[in-house]
């Protein structure tokens, strides 16, 4: 079957098998290997992508179901060579060790900050509670998301004055 969707702002039209999962479609067919494939049971959250701005586990979503929707993967965070503040935060606050959970963590963080620009630590921890970091680097992940929130709040205050 044919599926059409927007991935990181670009229209894609591909021939797929209906049983093709979104995570494999993104990695194998589109070659966007930033999205990681982990537990395959919607527990670990490393496969998270944004569908119409909402974080979704792509191992438990069919590529066919994503047809007609806007998909954002970790490759879509950077714009014109400039890192998203969330990516900067993960860099500056050591938000990753092995890096396996990082794409899902950053996309969930991006979706959170779009809704809530100034989240408390509890809110951040709740937002990423569907994602597992086996390096157990949660403290630095939370710190990274805080860093991004602070940077964005400052920028928006700066532009308002």
């Amino acid at each position: 079957m044919q599926v059409n969707m927007t991935v990181n702002g670009q229209e894609v039209s591909e021939e797929i098998e209906p049983r093709h999962l979104l995570v494999h479609f993104i990695r194998d067919q589109l070659g966007l290997t930033g999205t990681h494939w982990g537990c395959d049971t919607s527990n670990c959250g490393t496969c998270v992508v944004l569908i119409d701005g909402e974080p979704v586990k792509s191992c438990s979503t069919l590529a066919a179901m994503a047809g007609g929707h806007q998909i954002t993967t970790v490759e879509g965070l950077e714009v014109d060579g400039e890192l998203d503040p969330v990516q900067e935060g993960f860099m500056n606050c050591h938000g990753l060790q092995c890096g396996f959970c990082t794409p899902g963590m950053m996309l969930t963080a991006r979706a959170l900050l779009n809704k809530n620009p100034d989240p408390s630590e509890a809110v951040i921890r709740e937002a990423i509670s569907g994602q597992i970091c086996r390096c157990t680097g949660y403290s630095t992940i939370v710190r990274s998301i805080h860093w991004a929130a602070n940077k964005e709040t400052k920028v928006s205050l700066g532009s308002a004055s």
């Binding site: 079957m1 098998e17 209906p18 049983r19 093709h20 999962l21 494999h24 395959d40 049971t41 919607s42 959250g45 998270v48 909402e54 974080p55 979704v56 586990k57 438990s60 979503t61 069919l62 066919a64 179901m65 047809g67 969930t108 709740e126 937002a127 509670s129 569907g130 994602q131």
Partner: protein, 291 residues
């Protein structure tokens, strides 16, 4: 790599279209809503439908509305919206209690009320919530619609009253004055299936309980409410003794099995204790002592 067996995919554009597809494709077809239970089952070949009918475009099934007598929830309403709904939190706080401990926020972005009830997993939380609230399920087909109670809806593990050419479209919950409800769950780790959970709903007549219901999850094949609980609550004054009596009834009327989540004896103890707690909190909410 775990991938489902081959199937054909159809996307429904309206409730009528979805039902017509089911009628045409028969028992080999399944609806897919959030897909976070069905797709993992298909990967493991525990489910092997020949056709999947995607109902995520049916925007007419995403709603929570209220009239004088009941709250109506569209079957495609997602966990996230059930959790965030102020209307539900005001009338049925049991929903927010339960939704906070169902899976995780990302899964809650996809999973739906109708999908949860149709999955009919004996450990599933919303079936217990709806049983406690005395909810009714609206099932549509080409010949019209029928409304069934939760007791009739839930036929057995993974089995519901929804026929091959039918579709669950709405859940109706009666509004009762001076009511309160609460949900208590014990799980091995955050977001897991319940070891046991108990939901309670009561409505007051002055100082006494007019009536109430308890729904249990993960303690046997069925999650429907227990008749003798309602009999014990009807006309009773709230007290610790009453909560204990009802807790004991709940423990006596369930059939837990020993598995990796715990022994049958431990689960029976939880059924008693969690019923005491959910009932105590439901009464506190009904009488304005707790939000």
């Amino acid at each position: 790599m775990q991938v489902p067996a081959p199937f054909e995919y159809e996307r429904a554009t309206s409730v009528e279209h979805a039902i017509a597809l089911r009628e045409r494709l028969g028992e080999e077809a399944r609806f897919v809503a959030g897909g976070h239970s069905l797709l993992p089952m298909m990967k493991l070949r525990l489910a092997n439908p020949e056709y999947l009918i995607d109902i995520n475009d049916l925007s007419e099934l995403f709603y929570i509305s209220e009239d004088a007598n009941e709250v109506r929830i569209g079957a495609m309403t997602r966990h996230r919206d059930l959790l965030d709904s102020e209307l539900l939190a005001q009338h049925f706080p049991i929903f927010r209690d339960a939704e906070k401990v169902i899976a995780d926020p990302v899964v809650r972005n996809r999973g739906t009320l109708g999908g949860s009830l149709c999955q009919a997993d004996p450990s599933e939380d919303l079936s217990a919530v709806c049983a406690a609230l005395d909810a009714a399920c609206v099932i549509k087909s080409t010949s019209g619609e029928r409304v069934v109670s939760m007791a009739d809806f839930h036929v057995g593990p993974y089995e519901t009253a929804v026929g091959d050419a039918e579709m669950l479209t709405e859940i109706r919950i009666p509004l009762r004055p001076n009511s309160g409800s609460a949900y208590e769950k014990v799980e091995r780790r955050a977001g897991d299936w319940a070891i046991v959970s108990s939901g309670a709903a009561v409505w007051m007549d002055g100082d006494v309980i007019a009536n109430g219901r308890v729904g249990l999850a993960a303690v046997g094949p069925n999650t429907t409410s227990i008749e003798t609980v309602s009999a014990a609550l009807s006309g009773a004054a709230p007290s610790e003794e009453l909560y204990q009596t009802v807790g004991d009834i709940a423990a006596a009327n369930c059939s837990p099995q020993t598995d990796q989540r715990g022994t049958a004896a431990y689960k029976r103890h939880l059924a008693m204790e969690l019923t005491r707690r959910s009932l105590r909190r439901a009464v506190a909410r009904a009488t304005g002592q707790e939000a």
